[in-house]
């Protein structure tokens, strides 16, 4: 982990689980020395999780949180409201203060934490040290409610360490109307809602089955059919050979809507195709008849026209198995409506 240097506030790398063979660590910025102590990997991970919550809760960075919890700095110093600490004359010990209590969660140790945490400590979900660091349980939960618009139930689960803060935030994200309207990125998408998209897909599907609408659907021979600035090109056998649109998402949606499948394909999202190349994206989709794996099409941007294309205009455009990264990214997303409380 990176800790914040108490003297110059620079970052210093410290591996708690390995220690550093009793050697002193020195800050590259100011030369301040730190003597790390070796921790078990479990204790180090527990400490890291604690710092994670502490950092998010206080709006500080991870190195600052580590330094506060290690006793190297105060929260006030990290938050810029305190005076800079005087340079210590001796190497500082990068270990937890010894008088805080044990890390086993045993309530028998003399520790002055909020008794409201006792059930959680006795249940083993929270250590005595964590309870002490969280202060007043009710205040801690209230801060979570205020800052993250979290339900009371979730807030107390987090306070008692029965659920991680990030897990609680994620579960909130799934069910609330995205606070911050933040990233409601429709970007002029032709079809604004999932319901409309599904309806359109069904209409296309039914129309294809009935042989109707051949004049405007993009399934006619060599026909470019405009659909809100999206074009789907097919060959003389009605197979999709290219989809063109103003953005990757519209290309993906048009492809899903135009494909003749028993169940309409579901567009899930777009992600980078290759590291560092923003001109190529992977459009990820799901076939309702094959829920075990996600599919994907490659979507590329035209350099000149700023249009996005899938397919080469000659061979049939097939959706292939999605890369693992896409599966990791979108599997949870696809299941979110069912799983969120």
């Amino acid at each position: 982990m990176f800790i914040r240097c108490a003297k110059c506030h620079g970052s210093v790398w410290l591996d708690l689980a390995r220690g550093s063979l009793d050697a002193l660590l020195t800050c590259e910025g100011c030369g301040q020395a730190y003597k790390p102590q070796r921790w078990s990997s479990d204790a180090a991970e527990e400490f890291r999780q604690n710092a994670h919550i502490f950092a998010i809760e206080n709006g500080i960075d991870m190195p600052g949180a580590f330094s506060v919890l290690l006793g190297l700095m105060t929260l006030g110093q990290v938050l810029d409201v305190g005076a800079a600490p005087a340079p210590p004359s001796a190497p500082r010990s990068a270990s937890m203060p010894e008088d805080v209590g044990d890390t086993t969660g045993s309530p028998a140790v003399k520790i002055d934490y909020d008794p409201a945490f006792l059930p959680a400590v006795e249940a083993g979900s929270l250590t005595a040290r964590q309870a002490l660091e969280r202060g007043d349980r009710e205040s801690f939960a209230q801060r979570l409610i205020d800052r993250h618009k979290m339900s009371e139930e979730l807030a107390y689960l987090v306070a008692d360490n029965r659920m991680s803060l990030l897990a609680a935030i994620r579960s909130q994200e799934g069910r609330e109307e995205l606070r911050a309207s933040t990233i409601d990125v429709r970007m002029g998408t032709a079809i604004p809602t999932a319901q409309l998209r599904r309806a359109l897909a069904w209409m296309l599907f039914v129309a294809v089955i009935l042989g109707a609408g051949a004049g405007w659907l993009y399934l006619g021979q060599d026909r470019d059919a405009p659909l809100d600035n999206v074009t789907v090109q097919t060959d003389n056998k009605g197979r999709i050979v290219q989809v063109e649109g103003p953005d990757p998402r519209s290309v993906l949606e048009a492809y899903c809507a135009a494909r003749r499948t028993r169940e309409p394909l579901v567009p899930l999202g777009v992600m980078p195709a290759t590291m560092g190349n923003l001109r190529v994206r992977v459009g990820v989709l799901r076939d309702p008849l094959n829920k075990d794996r996600l599919l994907a099409i490659s979507i590329r941007r035209d350099r000149d026209a700023s249009r996005w294309f899938a397919g080469d205009g000659r061979a049939e455009l097939h959706a292939l198995r999605a890369p693992d990264a896409a599966t990791d990214a979108f599997t949870g997303l696809a299941e979110a409506p069912k799983d969120t409380p």
Partner: protein, 122 residues
């Protein structure tokens, strides 16, 4: 006599990326929303800045996104971000600064390795 403020002292070295060489992906919150991908401008031991394309509304300061993926070359980092700064950049883009919280020790180690590599590479 030079005066160094707390804010200046805590400013970590930032490693800038060429356009498109690093990206951040913020998954959609619901199936009918779109994930956001943005070009990473720079990265430090504690935070990240990235630019949203025009027409993408900027997030509010202090919003926490619990699950993001940062890709720098072959290196993938996962974690959460807390938005700290949102400003207009050129071309109607929005530049966002955020604290980055790696999801686990594994990603912290990767971040350290990445920063080390960037330091060596200049």
């Amino acid at each position: 006599m030079s005066v160094t403020t707390e804010r200046q002292r805590r400013r970590d070295r930032r490693f800038r990326f060429r356009d498109g060489s690093a990206t951040i992906l913020i998954p959609a919150h619901r199936p009918d929303e779109h994930p956001i991908e943005a070009a990473v401008i720079d990265l430090s031991v504690a935070g990240i800045s990235f630019e949203l394309e025009p027409n993408v509304p900027g997030p509010e300061v202090d919003t926490v996104f619990g699950s993001v993926t940062i890709r720098v070359g072959m290196c993938v980092l996962e974690g959460g971000i807390r938005i700290k700064n949102v400003v207009l950049a050129g071309g109607r883009r929005i530049r966002v600064g955020a604290l980055f919280y790696p999801d686990s020790g594994v990603y912290e180690n990767r971040l350290m390795a990445l920063i080390s590599g960037l330091s060596v590479g200049g």
